[in-house]
């Protein structure tokens, strides 16, 4: 037990350097909750690491400044973390003593992937305001969305839809869930719709029909129970849905092992 704790404490440097493999990172962060000395160490060592970053500074191309400022101007900011925040946050705060290290870092990551979405949206020319609105509305309705978007291991995947449009997936292996959105999907006749699938070693499972698009945006749709090796597929099916895909996928995104 003693050995285990001291070996965990030795990881504080590796943690600050992001040198702990992702699957083991959560374990150390749990340790941080109970180790005040570790939190102090993390705080101080991060200041040193920040100077390593400063020492590597390079001047960005001037165009990047304008596009970043423009993207910010159309990106909604997270509300401050006051009481009545999402349940996951409250739990985290309760478990952390006052001024604990880690808390703001975690909170800060909560919107990270939504920002990624916004960047992707800008890049791909997606109707950003629509996406922001639908994201915001969904966030209010369902904490599951923010859990995925805020997951420490969340990644964004984007692919062109072969029939037109773009599909974007934000996925967290940790949460075993993903958020699917699409833009610019061609409108289908009334008798057919888009059906989302998970397909992999665990079999092909329907994740449901996509809701009708609004302002060219479809979703966000939350899909849980991801299995290792799954891919996300989109097919065109009769409007009531099919039990198995009856047409070739128009988008296919491998989610990783």
């Amino acid at each position: 037990m003693r050995t285990r704790r001291s070996s965990l404490h030795a990881l504080v440097g590796a943690y600050v350097l992001d040198a702990i493999p992702v699957p083991d990172r959560a374990g150390f962060e749990r340790h941080l909750l109970t180790c005040e000395q570790c939190r102090d160490d993390v705080r101080g060592l991060r200041e040193a690491a920040a100077l390593l970053a400063a020492a590597a500074a390079v001047t960005p191309r001037p165009e990047l400044r304008d596009s970043t400022l423009q993207a910010a101007a159309v990106t909604r900011q997270l509300p401050p973390a006051v009481g009545g925040a999402r349940p996951a946050r409250r739990t985290w705060r309760r478990r952390l003593p006052a001024a604990g290290i880690g808390r703001p870092w975690l909170a800060a990551s909560a919107g990270a992937v939504a920002v990624l979405l916004a960047v992707t949206a800008v890049v791909l020319g997606v109707h950003l305001a629509g996406m922001q609105r639908s994201l915001a509305a969904q966030e209010r309705r369902d904490g599951a969305l923010s859990a995925i978007l805020g997951a420490h291991d969340a990644v964004v995947l984007t692919a062109a839809v072969t029939t037109g449009g773009t599909a974007t997936v934000v996925m967290s292996h940790h949460a075993r869930a993903l958020v699917f959105t699409a833009s610019g999907l061609p409108r289908l006749s009334g008798s057919r719709g888009y059906e989302l699938w998970l397909a992999g070693p665990a079999g092909t499972r329907s994740a449901g029909m996509l809701p009708p698009g609004r302002h060219g945006m479809t979703g966000p749709m939350i899909v849980g129970r991801l299995a290792p090796g799954d891919a996300v597929e989109l097919t065109v099916e009769p409007v009531g849905g099919s039990s198995h895909p009856t047409s070739a996928p128009i988008v296919w995104l491998y989610l990783g092992p």
């Binding site: 030795a10 990881l11 504080v12 440097g13 590796a14 600050v16 350097l17 992001d18 040198a19 493999p21 160490d41 101080g44 060592l45 991060r46 200041e47 040193a48 690491a49 920040a50 100077l51 390593l52 400063a54 020492a55 590597a56 500074a57 390079v58 001047t59 960005p60 191309r61 990047l64 400044r65 596009s67 970043t68 400022l69 910010a72 990106t75 900011q77 997270l78 509300p79 290290i101 880690g102 808390r103 703001p104 870092w105 909170a107 800060a108 919107g111 990270a112 939504a114 920002v115 916004a118 960047v119 890049v123 791909l124 291991d153 990644v155 995947l157 692919a159 062109a160 491998y254 990783g256």
Partner: protein, 224 residues
């Protein structure tokens, strides 16, 4: 001995950097003095405290975000590029990180560390996670769609800064194994297992060298 040398050096330089309440001398701000002078869009004259600018950003102040960008973007881009290497991908990540700063400025807690360390942590983790993500193919698609212009290496002159010199001196005070463990992890984006493999030493050794090296670096730099 090297520590004392670094401290003395830092004391001598203290008047050249904007010191904040955490004792950081212009952390992440290596570019800001050059930047504010050279580009001029940073707003009010004189160095603006990054914490103060971030607090204004939290209230939706777009002009303050421009200040934060000018001060933070060079270090973000620099550290991300060390890891990712690919210039276009690095720019993309830099923009993502700065937008993340904009969006989550409301959640920044000064009690938990400096704004510079907060931003540097966001940037580094984002870059490392991207490297380790196995979704490279999908990311390439995003990059292709971005129609990134040709990257001008000449425009990418590394900014000469006080921070560079301080860090260089303090890194020189580490043992070779400490220095290599810290820099391979931070600038190379390698995990401790990968660093151990590269250096041909035990994993446990690398973990402690990373910790001890960073502690020595922190003490030499006089931060934290």
């Amino acid at each position: 001995m090297p520590d004392a040398d670094c401290r003395r050096w830092q004391l001598g330089q203290a008047d050249q950097g904007a010191s904040d309440e955490y004792g950081n001398v212009s952390v992440l701000a290596g570019g800001d003095q050059d930047g504010a002078r050279g580009r001029g869009p940073a707003g009010p004259a004189g160095p603006v405290d990054l914490e103060a600018a971030l607090a204004a950003v939290a209230r939706g102040d777009e002009a303050a975000f421009a200040v934060v960008y000018d001060r933070a973007a060079p270090a973000v881009l620099g550290s991300v590029r060390r890891i990712l290497r690919d210039p276009a991908q690095s720019e993309e990540v830099m923009q993502e990180v700065l937008l993340e700063v904009w969006r989550t400025a409301t959640r920044f807690d000064p009690a938990a560390g400096s704004a510079a360390a907060w931003i540097a942590t966001l940037a580094h983790r984002r870059a490392v996670d991207r490297v380790r993500s196995e979704q490279r193919a999908a990311e390439r698609e995003v990059r292709a769609a971005a129609a990134v212009v040709a990257y001008d290496e000449v425009a990418d002159a590394v900014e000469a800064s006080l921070d560079r010199e301080r860090v260089r001196r303090c890194l020189a005070g580490l043992t070779e194994l400490q220095r290599e463990s810290v820099t391979l992890a931070y600038y190379g984006g390698y995990s401790y297992r990968e660093v151990a493999h590269l250096l041909g030493v035990a994993v446990g050794t690398v973990k402690t060298r990373m910790r001890d090296g960073l502690i020595r670096l922190r003490d030499c730099l006089g931060v934290g």
